[in-house]
């Protein structure tokens, strides 16, 4: 069984780019974990403080076209270094999306209504989600509310997450 869970941070913006997730000035680091302290330090979003708001977060929720721009896998590494293994959004940029699965992490696409509900719930009380890759279900909990959201992954995406990433998968298959 492959599952991820955590408290969510909702970032109410579309087109959050990889320069905002991890600025280029940190691309001189070679160790993946060195990205950790700099996650989203350039993201200017009302009420968002990267130093405070990323603590104890396991899941990000955003709007459309998350991860656009540079191909830098430093973006997923910066998330991973902070214990964030899941990003949920209305849509993703291609390279970021693939990088998440290649690292054995999850990028989940939900529709506007489902994303809206997550934002609304998180505005009232802390939102916690548990993601089950095998059943394709997200269990969301916010205060007294609990609801289930189905999501779709392709067979290949599931296989990557289950193998632990693309290197492992390719090594077994090619």
């Amino acid at each position: 069984m492959t599952s991820f869970c955590g408290t969510t941070l909702c970032l109410d913006r579309s087109d959050i780019n990889t320069d905002e997730i991890i600025p280029a000035r940190y691309l001189t680091e070679i160790e993946k974990t060195a990205m950790g302290p700099h996650l989203m330090e350039d993201l200017e979003l009302e009420g968002f403080d990267p130093k405070q708001d990323l603590k104890e977060i396991g899941v990000l929720v955003a709007r459309r076209n998350f991860g656009c721009g540079s191909s830098r896998e430093h973006a997923p590494w910066a998330l991973e270094a902070n214990g964030i293994h899941v990003v949920i959004a209305e849509s993703f940029a291609r390279i970021f999306y693939q990088n998440m699965f290649n690292c054995g992490m999850l990028a989940i696409t939900l529709n506007t209504k489902q994303i809206d509900r997550l934002f609304q719930a998180a505005a009232v009380s802390p939102l916690h989600v548990a993601v089950d890759v095998d059943t394709g279900k997200i269990q969301a909990t916010a205060g007294p509310d609990t609801w289930t959201i189905p999501f779709a992954l392709t067979g290949f995406e599931k296989a990557l997450v289950q193998a632990g990433g693309w290197v492992e998968y390719a090594d077994q298959n090619y």
Partner: protein, 428 residues
């Protein structure tokens, strides 16, 4: 059913279709630079897989921060250099011979129509200008590419963008691609391949096509492909002359990758550029685009002419034509960075470097440096740049800095006045 260029390339490179939904393709080229490759190398070493699938198909360059600016960037260069030596990767371009990856690799003749190319760099789509499928990937895809010579891609749904009309004098490929991005938005081509065609593209040089294909990713595209034609063959001829009896034979061979007349496109857009004025970006997204005249007078602190988008010889010629005999405004710092040593040499020979220096430009060695705020021209907070680069993200050229993207002609004119302005090449 007819096929697009991308579909033909996919069919000719298919290794596996896991779950019937993903295409694992054989790679003709894996391009590498010192920012995203060292981590892939270290990862492979740690896994006991320090091998390369074919040293002749791997090309590497140090380009993002060169010469190294500190111990960290020196180490990145060293890891790439040592790895290239260890695996006998003979096409490795170190300091003195190095240039911006997406300018130097085509210039060396490493790209061919029908190739599948990956690199750990989002602007790898540039090489689509040659009728190749070239895509930016992350470090993990790069590591697998280096090790196994394969990469996985979703089905290549194609967005056909037909560009019609005739460009006005003073309007360039950069303006065309900004118009395309404005029209289709920053995610208008996500998970799609753009196929650029139409009389305007046919009339473009390879340099201009590279400028256009380069920014396909700014609309989310996986690759931005131009149809291989006589212009492509002419550019490649010095590298392929021993492979074909004549140019016509090369063209016929490359035409295998031309789209079928009944090719099925996911979408078809026609963009008429007959009245297109020079354009400029105004916000933090590449689809925030306006005519230069609407932004005229916006003060800038720095002008930057260079990058994988617009650092080629044609770009320098146009910029030099605008600044010839003039001086840059006192309030402005102007930087020109020829994208490769060959471009630099050619610019010297043609007297362009002298024109830039006489005008007050700083001429740097070939490097990506300032474009992504890593070196050689980083902005201070609150500063504004006029740049011929490809991204205007918040803080892209330095935290708190603002970037306006434009053509080399507009950037050069802006350097002269210190504020965004149309060049004299545009008369309307």
């Amino acid at each position: 059913m007819g096929k697009t260029i991308a579909q033909k390339i996919f069919n000719s490179h298919l290794v596996d279709q896991p779950f019937g939904e993903v295409n694992v393709l054989r790679l003709d080229r894996v391009f590498c630079h010192e920012i995203t490759t060292p981590t892939a190398i270290q990862d492979l070493v740690a896994r006991g897989r320090d091998r390369v699938f074919d040293p002749d198909k791997i090309k590497a360059v140090i380009d993002h921060v060169t010469p190294a600016k500190d111990a960290k960037t020196a180490l990145q260069g060293k890891i790439l250099r040592d790895w290239a030596r260890r695996h006998a990767i003979s096409d490795f371009f170190d300091i003195g011979r190095n240039g911006v990856c997406h300018a130097i690799f085509p210039e060396k003749g490493f790209v061919r129509p029908g190739f599948v190319i990956i690199m750990g760099d989002s602007h790898t789509c540039t090489h689509g200008a040659f009728g190749a499928f070239a895509a930016g990937v992350g470090t993990t895809d790069l590591a697998v590419g280096i090790l196994k010579g394969v990469c996985a891609f979703k089905k290549p749904d194609t967005l056909k963008i037909e560009i019609i009309g005739t460009l006005l004098p003073g309007v360039f490929a950069k303006d065309v691609i900004l118009e395309v991005i404005r029209k289709i938005t920053v995610n208008g081509a996500t998970n799609k391949v753009i196929e650029f065609c139409g009389p305007v593209v046919d009339a473009m040089s390879m340099e201009a096509r590279m400028t256009m294909s380069n920014m396909a990713v700014e609309a989310g595209a996986t690759s931005g492909i131009c149809r291989p034609d006589r212009v492509t063959v002419e550019y490649l001829w010095p590298f392929i002359k021993d492979d074909y009896p004549d140019r016509q034979a090369a063209l016929e061979n490359f035409s295998r990758f031309m789209p079928d007349a009944d090719a099925v496109y996911a979408e078809h857009k026609i963009i008429d550029v007959k009245n297109l004025p020079p354009l400029v970006t105004f916000g933090y997204k590449p689809d925030n685009v306006k005519p230069v005249s609407d932004m005229a007078g916006t003060r800038v602190d720095q002008v930057y002419i260079g990058s994988c988008t617009n650092g080629r010889i044609e770009d320098l010629r146009v910029a030099a034509q605008v600044v010839r005999g003039e001086k840059i405004a006192e309030s402005v710092r102007a930087i020109v960075s020829p994208a490769t040593p060959e471009v630099f040499s050619q610019a010297l020979e043609e007297g362009l470097i002298k024109i830039f220096m006489d005008a007050g430009f700083c001429v740097t060695n070939p490097t990506c440096g300032a474009c992504l705020g890593m070196s050689n021209g980083v902005l201070a907070s609150g500063e504004v740049a006029a740049a011929t680069t490809n991204r205007n993200f918040n803080g892209r050229m330095g935290k708190g800095g603002m970037v306006h993207l434009m053509s080399p002609a507009t950037a050069a004119a802006t350097a002269l006045t210190g504020a965004i302005t149309n060049s004299h090449l545009f008369e309307n």
